[in-house]
């Protein structure tokens, strides 16, 4: 039941980032500000729930992204998102992360994700642009949107995930 809630929420983030956000972004920034809301939810799951749920969410929704918007490669988003979710989960799962910490994690996670995408596409020669251009063109502008989103959902998501994690531990103890 609870895991279903998280999956539903991530799916909502996925749908919103591919349908509503393109309409909100003004024309001159279209294609430059790219939302990665599912990644933000995955990172929150890594920080406040568990690294395993982050791994599963990342792999599942990355694969969904890969399949639905099937372009050049299959499996890239799934691999990148799962790996980043798991890594940050490994580092921060047991700590009580503050809001600043959460924002920094989301920023670094997104940066890492974008760099991974860039280098894989570069290696397979689907893009010819230079790294510095890619940074200025879309990686940094997208980061601002990502941070704004993370800030907006920080309190409800943290509360929710921590409740879920707490319930899980309290259930396990009596057994």
């Amino acid at each position: 039941m609870r895991m279903q809630g998280i999956v539903g929420l991530t799916f909502l983030a996925f749908v919103v980032q591919s349908t509503i956000v393109p309409w909100i972004i003004p024309g001159e920034f279209a294609g430059r500000i790219v939302p990665h809301f599912t990644l933000a939810v995955v990172l929150f799951a890594a920080m406040y729930h568990s690294r395993h749920s982050a791994l599963l969410l990342g792999a599942g929704f990355g694969l969904l992204q890969d399949v639905v918007f099937r372009g050049h490669l299959l499996g890239l988003h799934a691999y990148a998102m799962a790996l980043i979710g798991y890594l940050f989960g490994l580092l921060l799962e047991r700590r009580r992360s503050t809001m600043m910490m959460a924002l920094v994690v989301v920023a670094f996670g997104t940066l890492l994700y974008e760099l991974a995408l860039y280098y894989v596409y570069k290696v397979f020669q689907f893009t010819q642009e230079s790294l510095s251009w890619a940074l200025v063109d879309h990686i940094l502008p997208s980061l601002f949107l990502q941070l704004a989103f993370a800030l907006a959902v920080y309190i409800p998501l943290r509360r929710w995930f921590q409740n879920l994690a707490m319930n899980r531990y309290s259930k396990k103890e009596p057994e």
Partner: protein
């Protein structure tokens, strides 16, 4: 480590130009598309509403302009009817086969965009028509301004558009020509340069009459894409590395942000 090997394997499989989709892929795409269309359209309406309020003042001028265009259109329509009739009688005289007569008889399917990919290197669009509606891979997609892209993947009730922005040297290009010089001019639109925001048109002969400002159309020569779709205008022409051919930079005609409705061009079934 195992996961890394798996990742390379999956990418390797997907890169080898496997066409068509498997059943689970189609199912996943269609169900997601079904949900996405509830969101994309209302969001578009809302955005359009606010834009309209902003544009209220420009409305009067636009109306005037549209009236002029309609007048010009009706005038051309008369001409067009006469030309079509002569064309038909000439075709009869020259004993055209049924297939030859129908070769330019394109059908336009009206489609709604339902989602945009949030991946800067793979900006595909999803539309709400699929193989059920007669969509096939490699059909051209246009708006009223010009060509937008090509259908790249098709499932039952949704399909994916690969926009011209994603053209690269790995995929086969689009053969193109210049308006008014269709007989002498030829080149291949091969890739899009994101840094200059221009399409690259290569393999233009050194004695080609194409000049700056020409409108570039699809030539229909390779028999994959329809003929006469507007791609863009020539911005500059340079000699290529060896000087044997020329390369042109083309500014795209279609506007790619906030796409809502597109037309899929369906070629007549080839009679062979």
């Amino acid at each position: 480590m195992i996961s890394f090997i798996l990742f390379i394997a999956v990418i390797g499989v997907s890169i080898s130009n496997r066409s068509g989709l498997t059943a689970p892929e189609k199912f996943l795409r269609d169900t997601t598309g079904f949900v996405q269309q509830w969101f994309y359209k209302p969001a578009g309406y809302m955005a359009g509403f606010f834009q309209d309020i902003g544009n209220l003042r420009a409305m009067h001028e636009e109306n005037e302009q549209l009236r002029m265009t309609v007048a010009a259109y009706t005038r051309d329509k008369v001409k067009f009817n006469a030309m079509e009739q002569t064309n038909q009688s000439l075709q009869e005289l020259l004993h055209f086969t049924e297939a030859q007569k129908k070769i330019n008889d394109y059908k336009f399917l009206f489609a709604q965009v339902i989602a945009v990919s949030p991946d800067p290197y793979n900006q595909t669009l999803t539309i709400n028509l699929g193989s059920k509606n007669g969509i096939k891979e490699k059909m051209a997609v246009i708006t009223d301004e010009g060509m937008v892209g090509i259908i790249s993947k098709v499932s039952e009730v949704t399909s994916t558009i690969m926009p011209l922005l994603e053209l690269n040297d790995q995929a086969p290009g689009i053969s193109a020509t210049a308006l008014g010089k269709q007989k002498q001019s030829f080149g291949i639109v091969s890739s899009y340069n994101k840094e200059t925001q221009m399409l690259q048109m290569t393999k233009i002969a050194a004695d080609d009459p194409m000049t700056k400002g020409d409108t570039i159309l699809t030539s229909g020569l390779n028999n994959v894409y329809p003929e006469g779709l507007v791609i863009g205008t020539v911005e500059s022409i340079q000699d290529s590395d060896f000087g044997l051919t020329k390369t042109a930079s083309i500014k795209l005609a279609a506007d790619f942000d906030h796409l809502n409705e597109v037309l899929v061009v369906q070629k007549p079934e080839a009679i062979q």
